[in-house]
């Protein structure tokens, strides 16, 4: 049975898309934490280490680490390995610049914690023009 829930927040970079969610509770390092050829997380101690976010709706707490965060996500756009959309909780300069240059729909300040209500594998529609996230639960 599929249940649907809707979250409302602040759209940051406009656009409408949908895709499979990839959810992590660990903040993401850009430079030194991501390999842009395949859009893979490479930080040794990250819970998604070895997994690719290419074409996924990436749901995560926020950015950490090097100032190369935006530069690395910029590279994923140029190499077509960027996430399909980004949903996150904690605003910072790294992630703000990162979503701007990645140029994919991005939403934050949601009325429910996306880390609590979205699971990896859920189908997620992101309408960043209106700040809406619609989640189809798969289990």
């Amino acid at each position: 049975m599929t249940t649907t829930l809707q979250l409302t927040g602040r759209g940051l970079v406009g656009g409408v898309t949908e895709g499979e969610a990839l959810v992590t509770r660990d903040a993401i390092s850009g430079w030194g934490g991501v390999e842009p050829g395949q859009g893979r997380i490479i930080e040794s101690r990250h819970e998604l280490s070895g997994q690719s976010f290419a074409d996924k709706v990436l749901v995560f707490p926020g950015a950490k680490g090097s100032s190369g965060w935006s530069g690395m996500f910029h590279m994923t756009r140029l190499r077509s390995t960027a996430p399909r959309a980004m949903i996150f909780n904690v605003m910072s300069t790294k992630i703000a610049l990162g979503v701007v240059v990645t140029r994919v729909p991005a939403v934050t300040e949601l009325d429910q914690d996306p880390l609590e209500v979205i699971d990896s594998g859920d189908w997620v529609r992101v309408d960043a023009d209106r700040g809406l996230v619609v989640v189809d639960k798969t289990r």
């Binding site: 680490g65 100032s67 935006s70 910072s92 300069t93």
Partner: protein, 426 residues
């Protein structure tokens, strides 16, 4: 976001298409942040040296096109004018003297040199270091800056009291051209007070201690602003360089307070600036040893192929200390010892005879880059050792190698014996 008439004119294209692209990026970025306005800056540190790994992605290897895409996020290529703000190149991909040691070929060298020439012609000072504060860019308290390089940002905010967020390549590229950056985050006085309270219940003395403490603090507070209580010895530049770099790697620390040491708080109360005190996080022996083990978490084999010193770039004191530790010894034939320092300090190291002493012992003095930024290692390297919590955090992930962490003396021992015998202070 509220723009001044001057900023509005830039955005409307009155000062050319490059200024327009730069202002467009700053406005898009500022609006995502929720910034009310921009602030003037005349101190920008960015990273605009590119090799083929970057230029191949830009449609054209032509430097204007590459800067337009990677440094401005411009929608189409623009002709880049000279920079308006005082602008500095940070650490880059290649040592312009010892590119051969890196395994860079001549075509790649020429591409990166073309990028250096482009930066120089546009008025970007070629400091080529992650530690501009060592070599002539020492911002004053309260100065609004726009810096990349997380280890440098945390240093100038905390130790010097300058004001910068962790900027990125595109925002610093735009700031170089316009002299503007979003007025947000650490530019505002109200956002610079402590959010976390760390009580240190163990002696913190050596460089290694400061690296371990920084790594633990970063993991605990993430992007928070910690105030440290219980520091009994006044640290020096090297120790704070290690501490901040580590805290900005395991977490996103951009500012911290050590009452009596850093620029903006003489007491714990001052660090809170009227904000409610935070719960206390305790750092003792257990936390120290667990963190040390985490730092060595990728290491299994004790035969060391490379010892890396100089992350962030080494001071002259560190370079001299390596020379002293090497006296009467040589780097093991199956190991390499690379020491990285700013290019300006390398010149002094040459004049002081340190470069000669290192070369005579089989070590290599390098500048401008590091193995993590340039993505290079001696051929066949499986295991590295370093005195830097930051480097051991990043290099194993980036280059798929094992990494040991320890003191400078333990690292030099490993380079001369080829074996890691570090103990982590146990």
């Amino acid at each position: 976001m509220r723009l001044t008439d001057d900023e509005r004119a830039m955005l409307d294209g009155a000062q050319g298409e490059a200024m327009q692209a730069a202002m467009d990026l700053l406005v898009r970025y500022g609006e995502v942040l929720g910034a009310e306005r921009l602030v003037d800056t005349d101190n920008v540190c960015g990273a605009n040296l590119f090799g083929s790994r970057h230029t191949m992605l830009c449609g054209s290897p032509e430097p204007d096109a590459v800067f337009s895409e990677l440094s401005l996020d411009a929608s189409s290529p623009v002709k880049v004018p000279p920079v308006r703000a005082q602008s500095y190149q940070l650490i880059g991909p290649m040592d312009t003297k010892r590119w051969d040691v890196q395994g860079v070929d001549e075509a790649e060298r020429d591409a990166i040199m073309q990028s250096e020439t482009f930066s120089a012609e546009h008025g970007i000072h070629l400091m080529n270091t992650c530690t501009p504060y060592q070599v002539g860019n020492v911002p004053v308290k309260g100065e609004h800056c726009a810096w990349m390089e997380s280890s440098a940002v945390v240093y100038v905010n905390s130790v010097l009291g300058a004001r910068t967020n962790v900027e990125g390549r595109e925002s610093t590229g735009a700031a170089m051209l316009t002299g503007k950056i979003p007025y947000w985050g650490l530019h505002l006085e109200a956002n610079r007070s402590a959010t976390h309270h760390v009580r240190v219940r163990r002696e913190i003395s050596s460089d290694r201690d400061w690296g371990v403490l920084g790594y633990w603090v970063g993991e605990q507070v993430q992007e928070g602003i910690p105030v440290l209580e219980g520091i009994t010895e006044v640290p020096n530049l090297v120790k704070l360089k290690h501490f901040g770099a580590a805290a900005a790697s395991s977490g996103g620390v951009e500012m911290y307070h050590i009452p009596g040491v850093t620029a903006e708080a003489r007491t714990v109360d001052e660090a809170y600036a009227g904000r409610a005190p935070a719960p206390v996080l305790e750092f003792g022996d257990d936390e120290y040893h667990a963190t040390y083990d985490q730092l060595c978490g990728t290491a299994r084999d004790r035969d060391v192929d490379l010892v890396m010193i100089g992350c962030p770039h080494a001071t002259l004191g560190q370079v001299r200390e390596v020379c002293r530790l090497l006296e009467g010894r040589r780097v093991h034939p199956d190991s390499a010892l690379w020491v990285f320092t700013p290019r300006a300090l390398r010149q002094v190291a040459e004049q002081n005879g340190y470069a000669r002493a290192l070369a005579d012992a089989g070590a290599v003095l390098m500048s401008d880059t590091c193995p993590a930024i340039g993505q290079f290692l001696p051929k066949g390297t499986r295991v590295i050792a370093t005195d830097s919590a930051k480097q051991v955090h990043y290099l194993p992930a980036i280059m798929n190698v094992q990494g040991w962490f320890g003191s400078l003396a333990e690292c030099v021992d490993a380079a001369t014996t080829g074996r890691w015998e570090g103990s982590g202070g146990r």
